[in-house]
């Protein structure tokens, strides 16, 4: 007979989740993060069985305790290599979209702007994750912060788009017909490369979902408007299917 797994109280579970996020966004080594979270989980389970509260274990300031742990753990320089890879991923995404929609063309502002925006966003997100993990916000404040965080990339990229129209900078990259096909292939190669490197399907699934329907529809002989409507509806449906699928998968995994 297997022993019944003790379930933690929401407060303890929250603390563990926040600790994981805090250490993750501080760039600590994966293995060390996993070890300490597991160790504290064990400790909290034992303590709760005996009716002790979370504050009895971690003291009165979760933030101070997270900092104490973080100070003893080593920084993983692997994280620095993630930045160029994220920039490369975004670049491939833009490249594929542009090459399909008839022409890769970058101005100086875009060439500098895209990587800059990516790096600023990533650094900002890491800072915010750390802040959110160690600070208790009210429900409304959490919702507002999440909303702002979620819309930030769109805002940044839109701002870049408008800035590109407003300030004419010289075009530094402009590809012809062959160039565009090569660009598309390079983009696909980057997606495959990142998928292999990160051992996730993410960078294959998402671009396929976003671009494949559009590409296939563009090959048909429908009217321009019909094509546009088809593209958007197919995208909408695939996004819903994907969300339902990942949600179900996450639910299944959390049950194990």
């Amino acid at each position: 007979m297997s022993a019944l797994k003790h379930t933690l109280t929401a407060e303890s579970q929250d603390f563990l989740d926040n600790l994981r996020l805090y250490l993750f966004s501080s760039g600590k080594k994966d293995e060390e993060v996993k070890e300490i979270v597991e160790e504290l989980e064990d400790h909290l389970i034992e303590a709760e069985k005996r009716g002790k509260s979370v504050s009895h274990i971690i003291g009165h300031s979760p933030k101070a305790y997270m900092e104490q742990l973080s100070n003893e753990m080593s920084f993983d320089f692997k994280w620095i290599s993630y930045l160029p890879i994220i920039v490369l991923g975004v670049f491939a995404y833009i490249l594929l979209g542009d090459s399909m929609r008839g022409g890769v063309q970058f101005t100086l502002l875009q060439v500098v702007g895209y990587p800059a925006v990516c790096i600023i966003l990533v650094l900002f997100y890491l800072k915010m994750f750390k802040f959110l993990a160690s600070t208790k916000l009210s429900k409304t404040k959490t919702m507002i912060t999440t909303f702002i965080l979620g819309s930030l990339p769109i805002l940044f990229f839109l701002a870049l788009l408008f800035a590109n129209d407003a300030y004419k900078t010289p075009v530094v990259i402009k590809l012809g017909a062959t160039g565009n096909i090569i660009a598309a292939l390079v983009a696909i190669a980057i997606f495959l490369g990142i998928a292999l490197w990160s051992k996730t399907w993410f960078t294959i699934v998402i671009p396929t979902m976003l671009f494949l329907p559009e590409f296939l529809i563009s090959l048909t002989s429908f009217e321009k408007e019909t094509k546009a409507i088809l593209t958007i509806s197919v995208l909408f449906v695939t996004l819903i299917i994907y969300n339902v699928y990942t949600f179900k998968k996450a639910k299944k995994e959390s049950r194990i």
């Binding site: 022993a3 019944l4 797994k5 003790h6 060390e32 070890e35 300490i36 597991e38 160790e39 504290l40 989980e41 064990d42 400790h43 389970i45 034992e46 303590a47 002790k52 504050s55 009895h56 274990i57 971690i58 003291g59 305790y65 104490q68 742990l69 100070n71 003893e72 753990m73 080593s74």
Partner: protein, 110 residues
């Protein structure tokens, strides 16, 4: 001076001494510490110290399966940890002798 400030450094030595009694895991260690009278520190305080002691190679860890819940990490002393424990005991004896001296002298002087 608060109790926690005074405890810093001493706690390290106490952890070494308890681990020296035999392999222990985190919760057990905290409980033993408490049973010796260290009630005022929160139990989690030991983990940052344990991480550092592991980095300094004073302790080694082995992971073992537990009946319920996650894997359990057991601590034991390395030879370097045993040396550090001996050094701590000497430092402590000297310190406590000196403190005793001062306190007793003041007590008898009155």
């Amino acid at each position: 001076m608060s109790n926690t400030q005074m405890l810093k450094g001493i706690l390290d030595g106490c952890l070494l001494a308890i681990i020296n009694e035999g392999e222990v895991y985190g919760y057990e260690l905290a409980e033993k510490l408490e049973s010796y009278g260290f009630q005022q520190t929160s139990e989690g305080t030991i983990y940052p110290l344990l991480i550092r002691m592991q980095k300094e190679e004073l302790v080694t860890t082995t992971l073992k399966k537990s009946t319920a819940g996650p894997r359990r990490k057991y601590y034991s002393l390395t030879p370097k940890g045993e040396e550090e424990l001996q050094a701590f005991i000497e430092r402590w004896n000297q310190l406590s002798r000196s403190v005793d001296h001062i306190l007793q002298k003041r007590g008898s002087g009155k």
